[in-house]
Point group: C2
């Protein structure tokens, strides 16, 4: 079972950058729900993901970590997506704040940040940091 | 009144990158507390800050926003600092998760992400995104 929701408010006058962030989030969190193996198309051989403090370098290590997640169901509710240019060609900085609920656990806040780089017609993830918003771990 | 605390656990074998992140956070959040006007040394003419969804481009706009914050006291408690290399020379990606308490308000979670770039002996902030972890704003 899977659900993905971007909460209002939607920007009244969305910019191209915010549209890109929204489209990326839609794609990424849908794939986490229903096709995690296909996320390998989003990571590159030199991508870096830090997941709850554990650093994974390279597509293979990132995918091994993502595939090892054991939940049966996940629901995402995205509260905000902040996008910025980086001053580098085709490189975008993106911070996502939201809540997620896995299986029978209560909902928890999370924060995930990406640096995306364009290549031909698509983007891949250069950097990815994920944290649940928990202060007593 | 001001307080700044980095919570344990401290990494058992801190890397150079994590030491840099920790030193940056120590400097940044101390200055937010006791010398906000000096933060202008950390922002560049082309820095971008998105503060609770409001984008400020350039040092002047960023500093105007930071100086306009109206709290009298602020206490920070930093839960985690995740640092990554970006593949670009002297450029570091940093995500900070913590709690803050202003004046008589209850503590709230926050997330702040930076891209830092080295220049001579110091770093400046290229990108900065700040969000309180609130889902019903």
């Amino acid at each position: 079972m899977c659900e993905f929701v971007i909460m209002p408010p939607i920007p009244a006058r969305p910019t191209e950058l915010h549209e890109l962030g929204r489209a990326f989030a839609q794609h990424y969190y849908t794939k986490i729900c229903v096709g995690r193996q296909e996320l390998d198309q989003l990571y590159a051989p030199d991508s870096v993901m830090t997941f709850e403090g554990l650093e994974c370098s390279g597509r293979e290590a990132v995918m091994a970590k993502l595939k090892a997640l054991t939940f049966k169901s996940i629901h995402y509710s995205i509260t905000s997506i902040d996008c910025q240019p980086t001053g580098l060609p085709n490189t975008v900085f993106l911070m996502v704040l939201g809540q997620l609920k896995t299986d029978e656990d209560p909902p928890h806040s999370f924060c995930q940040t990406f640096i995306l780089r364009g290549f031909e017609a698509s983007f891949f993830i250069v950097n990815d940091v994920f944290r649940m918003v928990l202060h007593n771990a």
